[in-house]
Amino acid sequence: MIIFRTILFALPLISLPALAGWDDVNMSPGATALGQEIFGLHMTIFWICFAIGVAVLGAMAFILFKYRKKEGVEAAKFDDSTFLEFTWTILFALILIGMSIPATITMIRAYDDTEGDINILITGHQWKWQYEYIEDEVSFFSNLSTSLDERNNLAPKGENYLLEVDEHLVIPTGARIRFLITANDVIHSWWVPDFAIKQDAIPGFVNTGWTQVNEPGIFRGQCTELCGQYHGYMPIVVEAVSPDQYKEFIMQKKEAKLQQAALTEKLWTTEELMAMGEGIYQKNCVACHQVNGQGLAPVFPALAGSDIVMNDKARQIEILMEGVQGAAMQSYAEQLTEVEIAAVITYTRKSWNNDPSGNAEIVAPKEILDYKTNKL
């Protein structure tokens, strides 16, 4: 019976890893020097613990087998041994000191928060990440790009299911990147396993982490602090590119910013706004207000048939720009451009039978710009 037990016990230890490669069962070996160092520390501690585990469980298996009740064998009577207890207490202390030395060294290295060549402000929002390149004044949001059909098992799941986003965080290789991490609403946590960075994003606090990637590549991570219902749906994708490509990326972002400003001044047709608004709605709004505009009572109100959407244009603009205090609705003033906000408001005003007469007024990008200007 004891042998049976030992085999059973060993079963999950041995056979499960054999089903897959080691990659699937162990920590990322790290893509950066710090990542590799923490992986090394993890393996050191793991093997020490593994050895202790094997010794203790092995001794236990031996005792269980050897001292099972036998005819004519009396149990011993001893109940104390100061020498033994003293010895193993010292032994434990020595093992722990041995473990704490490499841990302390790595800890000090991980906590280097001197300024980087490039500083990136990361802000967690329910349920997306915002990346702001502080020196270049470039800022954008990064949303999950896995389709709802994949999530609802209506389409085959891709290779990077739930680990793909619309906008990668692009960083140059060979540079020291410092991340400044905070949050806008609840606590999130920014984790990229290959960099061994996991820092909580806390409203009102700015935490730091840093990395230096030497080889180009794509690195994926996820939010690791429960942040509400879509906590599982706010992944992180970091793309390391050569410094030249990085410069180009920043240039493109800056140009796009200028173009958007020009678009605000343009005259938009209803069709153009509706087409754009539908895309914006799918990306930013369906999580709460749903595809059919019905929302999820009681937390997320319906837009279909809503009095504000149908009759109160000014209030609807205000809600999108300022968010709703004490509710899940956040401000989109910085997340979306003026054109996008105008488009999505127009879309909601003209969808789901909100506009049976077909005469509902559209919202022009200029109105959003005016709202912003008046506020100043």
């Binding site: 011993a76 999530r151 946590s189 602090e225």
Partner: protein, 535 residues
């Protein structure tokens, strides 16, 4: 157990009242112990059903049976119920039954308080579970309820949650006062502190921990209440408050709470191992000192739950070192249990099997805990399934197995009947296999990068999650066997002797009274000042 507590020994004491009023008005420690144990047994199936929903949702990638919102409600309430509704009440139930009998006292020191501390507990969980029927749904912010997710961003039912936690806390504090008073004042003559059974010692220390930290939890939820309803900003950064303060306050409660859920297990396992080894416990005094030092250390390690909040490096190092220190007294206990079995005469009845599994699997949970203590490595482990694996190893094959072991060990004493040994062993083997199948692969997916508390996951975690789910369903079903075995014992069991176990001779006062234990025991204290065979 209700049917069999009545005493048939024709003594002069009045027996229990009949019907429901017996249970509602009872001040008898045995009745109240049974109430606590049945309550926790029911809650085990409630919390277990929620775990089944979680594992069904995670059986495959993709959205399966529940929405992400309901999934979070399941995760939250599973945790709350298992911690406050299963493990803690079960230990209090065992304390109620066993402490008076182990120290030779006629009852608990404060019987009416005892009744109250039990009966407000179903009220607390009634309040908590009723939130599932309310608009906005049940609490959905995790059992650790970090602000501001649990304040500004919480569903309106959070207020019910706060009151429920207050009532649970009041119940625990009253229970602890009762236990401390009983142990300090009502021991039989001759039972000095250092002669007390280890279960009594472990509960004495646990009760002090409870009194120290439950008010801290009450403070945390009161601050939440103020933030939500009265315009304060304790935890709101926008109002000048500090969301991290919540975590410090919560874990100052939370870490001792973790030991509240394991120290009584140490006591139980010590008794069972010495009985079935037919040897006295090895290193009694070092066992006591180990429990005491674990309890003291538990007050200075809380921030190891917060290595990623951005503490200064001095804080990280302090909490890393203090956490590693806990490995010393814990290691001493494991070695003492092994030494107790060493050169013993071991038999493997069901309680012993569960106790041995406890030592083995708690060791695994302890070693993964040691890995988690290493702060820089914890940056990678924190909030992943590695943590989920770790705390389930110490709570399920740890705390829960010790409770199951205790029930099998003392059930014949409580009911007067033996449980079915074949069923008991079947229950053990099914539980042992499935518990490892459930929680061991979680280490792998955690290291490979799967965060905890997510309702859906990336493709590379699919294989192990399916194994985990199968293990979980098997574990859940196996516990029905436990319920069946207890009921079978109560209604159809064979009579048990006073000593019940061959090795129980001289292993405590509870084995000197009849089986079933009479409704009132030790109305005259046993005199332990003279040497006795049973002491």
């Amino acid at each position: 157990m209700s049917a069999v507590i009545e005493s048939h020994h024709g003594d002069h004491h009045h027996g229990p009242a009949k019907g429901f009023s017996r249970w509602l008005y009872t001040t008898n420690h045995k009745d109240i112990g049974s109430l606590y144990l049945w309550f926790s047994f029911i809650m085990l199936f409630v919390g277990g059903a929620m775990a089944m929903v979680i594992r069904a949702e995670l059986f495959e990638p993709g959205s399966q049976i529940v929405s992400p919102e309901f999934y979070n409600q399941m995760v939250t309430n599973h945790g709350l119920i298992m911690v406050f509704g299963v493990i803690m009440p079960a230990f209090v139930g065992l304390a109620n039954w066993m402490i008076p009998m182990q120290i030779g006292a006629p009852d608990m020191a404060l019987p009416r308080l005892n009744n109250l501390s039990f009966w407000i507990l179903p009220a607390a969980f009634g309040v908590l579970l009723s939130t599932f029927l309310m608009e906005g749904g049940a609490p959905n912010f995790g059992w650790t309820f970090y602000a501001p997710l649990s304040t500004e961003y919480a569903p309106p039912t959070v207020t019910f949650f706060i009151f429920s936690v207050h009532i649970m806390g009041a119940s625990s504090i009253m229970g602890s006062i009762n236990i401390i008073t009983t142990i300090l004042n009502m021991r039989a003559p001759g039972m000095t502190l250092m002669k007390m059974p280890l279960f009594v010692w472990s509960w004495l220390i646990t009760a002090y921990l409870l009194i120290a930290v439950m008010p801290v939890l009450a403070g945390a939820v009161t601050m939440m209440l103020m933030d939500i309803h009265f315009g304060t900003s304790f935890f709101s950064a926008a109002g000048g408050g500090d969301p991290v303060l919540f975590q410090h306050v919560f874990w100052f409660f939370g870490h001792p709470e973790v030991y509240i859920m394991i120290l009584p297990a140490f006591g139980i396992v010590s008794h069972i191992i010495e009985t079935f080894s037919r040897k006295p416990i090895f290193g009694y005094s070092s066992m006591v000192y180990a429990i005491a030092s674990i309890a003291l250390l538990s007050f200075v390690v809380w921030a190891h739950h917060m290595f990623t909040v951005g503490m200064p490096i001095a804080g990280e190092l302090f909490f890393m070192y203090s956490t590693m220190l806990i490995a010393i007294p814990t290691g001493v206990k494991v070695f003492n249990w092994l030494s107790t079995m060493f050169r013993g005469s071991l038999t493997f009845e069901t309680p012993m099997l569960f106790a041995i599994a406890f030592v083995a699997l708690f060791t695994i949970g302890g070693l993964s805990g040691l890995m988690l203590a290493i702060a820089p490595a914890d940056f990678q482990y924190h909030d992943t399934y590695f943590v989920v694996a770790h705390f389930h190893y110490v709570l399920v094959p740890g705390a829960l197995f010790s409770i199951v072991a205790a029930v099998y060990y003392w059930l014949p004493k409580w009911t007067g009947y033996m449980y079915d040994e074949v069923l008991g062993k079947t229950h053990f083997w099914l539980s042992f296999i499935s518990v490892n199948l459930t929680f061991f692969p979680m280490h792998f997916v955690g290291l490979a990068g799967m965060p905890r508390r997510i309702p859906d996951y990336a493709m590379q975690f699919a294989d192990y999650n399916m194994i985990v789910s199968v293990g979980a369903f098997l574990f859940g079903l196996s516990q029905l066997l436990f319920l069946f075995n207890v009921l079978k014992c109560v209604y159809y069991g064979k009579s048990a002797t006073a000593e019940v176990w061959e090795g129980a001779k001289g292993k405590g006062l509870e084995w000197t009274v009849d089986s079933p234990a009479p409704y009132h025991t030790f109305e005259t204290s046993p005199d332990l000042t003279k040497p006795q065979t049973n002491s």
